[in-house]
């Protein structure tokens, strides 16, 4: 069995894919992953997920090229800057 290993570096952080472990069962995967990904104190927690349990999506339908759904070319940075300036120039009394 192949187990995908997800590692959390510190409490509260998201789990990130760290690699995979090939093991005959969950007990071996536990013992091996513990040493492979935790022996140096580098992990707060691990998730071991049998690869078969991962539901993967790689096919995407975008037949009509719906560009307006995307943000390409739309500079949020400059608009954000403008908005901030406006907010800064507006005094509480004016509101």
């Amino acid at each position: 069995m192949i187990f995908e290993v997800f590692r959390q570096e510190r409490k509260g952080q998201p789990f990130a894919h760290a690699g995979s472990i090939e093991a005959p069962d969950a007990a071996f995967a536990d013992a091996w992953a513990r040493e492979q990904y935790g022996r140096r104190g580098e992990s707060e927690a691990l998730w071991l997920v049998p690869r078969d349990s991962v539901h993967q999506i790689t096919e995407w339908a975008d037949e009509f090229d719906l560009k307006y759904r995307r943000v390409d070319g739309y500079s949020i940075k400059s608009r954000l800057k403008e908005a901030r300036e406006r907010a800064g120039n507006t005094s509480a009394v004016d509101r």
Partner: protein, 214 residues
């Protein structure tokens, strides 16, 4: 040497020599994952040895490195069980399994000891041993019906008995489902020729420049 120092050295020597023997698998264990796990466990055992040597060193006015490396092989207190060179996985796992079970019996007794320093260290060591036992027991469960593994366990059983004091052996027998009465334990005190070979290699660097600090 008093009884406390003798006891500390016996356990420390067991852990050091077994850690050394098991580390001989680094790079050649059956799978990459097992290689990492097995090597890490071997390192842990050497870490336990260090902590025990440090306690013994206070008692003996020495230091951990001197106790680990500067005694002649005949003064080591380890059981013959840990000295054997078993370059075969069935025997290696059989020894790991039997040793962990024996070590559990020994640590359980130490944790209940009136010697609070030793009891505290035993409890600390045991928190790591939980994972060593998990590793050993999963292998034992997997290989239980494998004739080579069964033969190895039976062959090593008299050696495993020698790790423990006579009064602790029935408990070990019960745990692993073997009889402590039909086998003559290979006792601590005599050494196998393998220990001298191991000692020569283990102390080679330290002996090359006596007194150097590393």
């Amino acid at each position: 040497m008093n009884a406390r120092a003798t006891l500390l050295l016996s356990i420390a020597d067991d852990e050091l020599i077994l850690g050394w023997r098991d580390s001989e698998w680094t790079g050649i264990a059956p799978t990459l994952e097992e290689d990492v796990a097995f090597s890490s466990i071997a390192q842990n055992e050497i870490g336990h040895a260090r902590a025990l040597y440090e306690l013994a060193a206070v008692e003996l006015g020495s230091d951990a490195d001197a106790l680990a490396f500067d005694r002649p092989p005949e003064e080591y207190r380890c059981a013959p069980f840990v000295e054997l060179r078993l370059m075969d996985w069935a025997h290696t796992i059989a020894r790991r399994y039997l040793y962990e079970e024996a070590d559990r019996v020994r640590l359980d007794a130490l944790r209940r000891s009136d010697d609070t320093e030793l009891a505290g260290l035993a409890a600390k060591i045991d928190r790591e041993e939980v994972y060593h036992r998990m590793h050993a027991e999963m292998w034992a469960a997997r290989l239980r019906d494998e004739p080579r593994f069964r033969a190895a366990v039976n062959e090593l059983w008299p050696y495993a008995l020698g790790v423990l004091e006579p009064q602790q052996r029935a408990e070990l027998a019960r745990r692993v489902g073997l009889s402590d009465e039909s086998s003559q334990a290979v006792e601590r005190g005599e050494h196998t020729p393998e220990l001298t070979e191991l000692w020569n290699e283990m102390t080679e660097v330290r002996r090359s420049v006596p007194g150097a600090s590393w």
